[in-house]
Amino acid sequence: MGIFAANSERLRMPVATPQLLHLLTIVLPALPFAGFLALAVASRRIAGILAIALTGIGLILSIGLALSLSKQPITLLANWAILSGVSFPISLRVDALAAMMLILVHFVALLVQIYSISYLHDEPKLRRYFAYLQLFIGSMLGIVMAGNLLVMYAFWELVGLASYLLIGFYAERQAASKAAMKAFLMNRVGDIGFLLGIFLTYYYFHTLDFEILSLKGASAIAPTVLGLCLFMGCVGKSAQFPLLTWLPDAMEGPTPVSALLHAATMVAAGIFLLARIHPLLSPDALVVIALIGTITAVWGGYSALFQMDIKKVLAFSTVSQLGLMVAAMGTGNVSGAMFHLLTHAFFKAGLFLSVGAVIHAVHTQDMRHMGGLRKTLSTTFIGYTICSAALAGLPFLSGFLSKEVILGEAFAWASDQRSKLAYFVPVLLLLSSGLTALYMARQWRLIFFGDYRNKDIPLTQAHEPDWFMRGPVILLAIFSIGLWFSINPLSAHGSWFFQILPITEEASFWWLAPISIGLVLVGGWVGFRMPEPHTNSVFVQISISYGFLDVVYKYIVISPTHRLASLLSRADRRVIDGLVNGAGISTVVLAHLTRVVDRLGVDGLVNGIAWLAGRLGRMTRSVQNGQVQSYITAAVVGLLLVLWWIL
């Protein structure tokens, strides 16, 4: 596939030669794709083991890669398309950011697959399930390792395909296949923007390579529209306002898939894209991004408040947290956003997997039919509690640390802006983290406290799952503890993470931690004590239908498109085709008139045409309305001959 060009500095670890590192860079994304193909022929019995082994190997390799990474990123280039001298190469790139994502993706994917062995034990399409997961992982690795925008876009679309296949995994269910389609199409809307952004980038900078772009982007400010177009890709993939409605529907997929989709793959891709293209974002574009992120954080938080589906609460909490990350990107805080992406991946995966255990036990997703499960599902209860506390942002847990970094930087950013209105961003973000505590506490209460409310399945039948499912939850809960990330439980400044991805300016406000802890405690208290409001209430309806966004889409996008399509289709048949047929008929009429005139008039010419018409008429006698048509044919062919004669 062409010659690999390479450049990388001397390496710290003597064991890993540059050649070995390049090999690793190719092998890492190739493994899951090989797995995807292998699973098509592997036997059902070994499907899970094969998938886990591949991802396990990938995890070890990516840790090795990360450890031997020097300051200089590893880059690989190969020819892909050369059009009359214009070259579009495939390029892979591993730097600190990518290496971190590699480990994260592999780690979460490994746990999810171990969990799936037990969760989907009786699934008849098991091979297919693991094959799709491998495709998903491989595509995500491709995004992470992409060295230019085109490669990223290619894998970006493949992530779309993998999510389509996994969300629609139970395709015999109408809802699942619809949700899959919705996810893909909504993502496509964003992808169109992304693609236009790529074209604009190429137009302005004549390159799509991240390395060169970050140099050029630093020296010249790219047009705002370019940044916003690229950002649209993130709006679709990371479920930002207004393209967020596919994410709750995506819950139709198997629950472990939701864990993967919400933690390390898919939605993380949009955030990662922003990190890569950050140098190309103009100040105006950044303001828009901060605003969209803030709106999404609040919108998602409010929508999570009154959901009754156990997974939908988590889905909207993901939307809200992604909004937080995007807002952080908008305030120029790339490292903070990536840090929250990392911490969020652990506790959100942990939450989905514990929720999966709950569903596994009570066979329902409706929280009205749960309650009082803390004794029966004790391990799950502990895992869930730690993870949700981390999500809510309680001190000593990872979520607190990353939120502090984002909020602190956001306040610092707001104070730098000319308009005081900029304070809306950090204030709303702070409120949304209070909302997080509220809905998580509510969910905690509905699942684990109060009386058991399921009449179909007695509590005695509900039981803890096996260790394939409990193990990953515990591990993820352990990784949600703040100590892993920072020695100081109240601040992440000085964390190892910011050694790798340095933060631009360190902002810390003494009042921020107490205020946010206070908000979280108040939110948690309200959420835990709050009586369930009546579902007819407008506020509840707005929350459950996530601001009626889908209704709006139905009436202003989908229906008009269908109406326009069928209108055009009718016009196509009646007007355009009508004109064609009309032209045909008038020619025939004209031909008849000519014939009448000719019969009365010049005889010699008549004979000629009659002879021609006769010949052609015989040729097309079998034709339905051959009479009529043959005259047209005769007329045209005759005309041709006459012209030929004259010229």
Partner: protein
């Protein structure tokens, strides 16, 4: 030799089939299979022999066919001249492959096989002729002759409204050919063959002694009116037609003369005439309405050939004739032409969304995908033109696959309505898998060829100095619409719980929804693999096109 073999082996085969007794009904398909296999081998050989580093035509074969002194009107000369360059060779290879698949797809046909295969082979030969002919007259001959077998293939083996569809197809294309014919004659009267003229004027003894210096001298003489008009050899040779210096000073298609006809400069009018002629073939909205009818009525193999190969002659004609002979027209009207391309993309996509017949849906998706070809060509950029040729090849492979997929279902139930099926996934899992692959490849999933074609035509449109950015931005809606109609169809027909509208098992239809048989897999899997191969290694095509396109674009870079 290869190119002549490509043309004449199938023509000879057609004759052989026609002469054999009709009782040999089973043997005909074997003859057709053998001949189309030979065609693939020959086209493959041409692909290998072709030198991708040099410009100009290769594998040239030339023979004097007709020479006629016409006194004051000069000397008429028509040659048998064939050759390929980076624009035509990919299409030749594509045609060979699609024609082979078409034979496999015709395998179960039992009705009047002798006539069918004779016409099919005639079609194969004329299509090849069309792509390799470098004498305009020869090209036109093949172009016209292609109509005849196509007309009968639709008219005799088609669906219920086959007569209407075939007549419509015939007349539409004939109208287009008429316009092309007019321009062809105009060009013929306006252009001299500098090599033969040099010989006729006595400047050199034989054609091999003619050098570029002599050609330039001659051209100067001619522009100054120093040549005796009786000595001027008129030509249909496309190599001379595309060179402005060969136009006679007083000729009405001379770029410098510019006489006005019907309020337009003659050359602009001529450009529009050839454009419309080939736009009908591509087809471009609003000249497309023959296509859905022809597709719906045509039997599966004919649909495959129609979408896979015949439409490409439109795009080929743009590049080889309309744009190359009339670069001034193409540049002048770039915006309007780009607009037509975008219109085709969006209009075709919206129409596809509204169709209730699966085959019609795919026919309209062809209209949309061919719009990308026009957009790429109009952009006049390296990305756009290479992308347009690539898109033609890619669409040839993918549309063949899509129409075969419709055929599989139609063979079983004789019902193509989308709402007659739900949840086909359960009874036909392999069929579903291949459909998903074909649909995703067509909606532009990276890794498959559809993505590359759309990417580079759109990128070309965006980089173009001739087109405004918003135009291409609208065109990108086409890839959203593509995803919408393909995925919606998948969701309605293949997913959910299984239900099929009760159908009467007819003669020749399988009464149950059985999964793919070996023959069907033999057609679909190689096409899917080709789309994948081209998508991952697009240089397989771009290697061929790059040099030719770079040379082709020189004409447009002056301005």
């Amino acid at each position: 030799m290869i190119l002549s073999l490509l043309i004449f082996i199938p023509l000879l085969g057609s004759l052989v089939v026609a002469l054999l007794p009709a009782s040999q009904s089973v043997g005909f398909r074997w003859i057709a299979l053998l001949i189309t296999l030979v065609e693939v081998v020959l086209a493959g050989a041409a692909y290998i022999i072709f030198d991708t580093t040099i410009t100009g035509y290769q594998l040239l074969e030339q023979a004097n066919w007709i020479t006629l002194p016409l006194g004051r009107l000069g000397i008429a000369s028509i040659d048998y001249l064939v050759g390929v360059d980076g624009i035509s060779l990919p299409l030749v290879v594509l045609s060979a492959v699609v024609m082979l698949i078409g034979v496999v797809s015709s395998w179960p046909l039992t009705h009047r096989t002798k006539a069918y295969y004779s016409l099919y082979l005639l079609l194969t030969g004329t299509i090849m002729g069309c792509f390799v002919a470098l004498d305009f007259f020869l090209f036109f001959l093949f172009f016209e002759f292609m109509l005849l077998p196509m007309y009968f293939l639709i008219g005799l083996w088609g669906g219920p409204r086959r007569e209407y569809a075939s007549i419509k197809f015939f007349l539409y294309t004939l109208l287009g050919s008429l316009l092309i014919l007019l321009v062809m004659i105009g060009l013929y009267l306006s252009v001299m063959d500098p090599v033969s003229t040099a010989v006729a004027a006595g400047l050199v003894a034989d054609p091999s002694a003619v050098t570029t210096d002599i050609v330039h001298t001659l051209q100067r003489y001619m522009q100054n009116g120093q040549l005796d008009s009786a000595q001027i050899v008129h030509t249909f040779d496309m190599r001379y037609l595309s060179d402005g210096s060969n136009y006679l000073p007083d000729a009405f298609l001379n770029p410098a003369a510019e006489p006005i006809i019907l309020g337009l400069p003659a050359r602009m009018l001529a450009f529009w005439a050839v454009f419309i002629g080939f736009a009908i073939k591509l087809p471009i909205v609003p000249l497309h309405t023959w296509l859905p009818d022809a597709h719906v009525e045509a039997p599966t193999p004919v649909s495959v050939v129609l979408a896979g190969v015949l439409l490409k002659i439109g795009g080929y004609g743009f590049l080889r004739i309309a744009w190359d002979f009339f670069p001034d027209g193409a540049a002048e009207y770039a915006r309007i032409l780009g607009g037509l391309g975008v219109l085709s993309i969006v209009y075709g996509g919206l129409n596809a969304l509204a169709q209730t017949d699966l085959k019609k849906m795919i026919a309209y998706s062809s209209v949309s995908h061919m719009g990308f070809v026009l957009l790429g060509i109009v952009s006049l950029t390296a990305e756009g033109i290479n992308g347009a040729i690539y898109q033609m090849v890619s669409h040839g492979v993918l549309s063949a696959m899509l129409f075969l997929i419709v055929g599989v279902l139609y063979d079983r139930t004789h019902d193509r309505r989308i709402d007659s099926y739900r949840g086909l996934m359960q009874p036909m899992p392999r069929y579903t898998t291949l459909t998903v692959i074909a649909f995703f490849a067509s909606l532009g999933l990276p890794g498959f060829s559809g993505f590359v074609g759309e990417l580079f035509t759109l990128m070309g449109g965006f980089q173009s100095d001739w087109l405004p950015g918003w135009m291409t931005a609208i065109a990108t809606l086409g890839i959203l619409l593509g995803a919408a109609y393909f995925l919606w169809t998948l969701q309605r027909m293949f997913f959910g719980s299984t239900w099929v509208r009760p159908f009467e098992p007819q003669a020749g239809s399988t009464s149950v929804l059985s999964d793919l048989n070996a023959r069907e897999k033999l057609m679909l899997i190689p096409l899917g693999l080709m789309a994948l191969l081209l998508g991952i290694f697009p240089n397989l095509i771009f290697n061929l096109t790059s040099t030719t396109v770079a040379q082709w674009l020189v004409k447009f870079s002056v301005e």
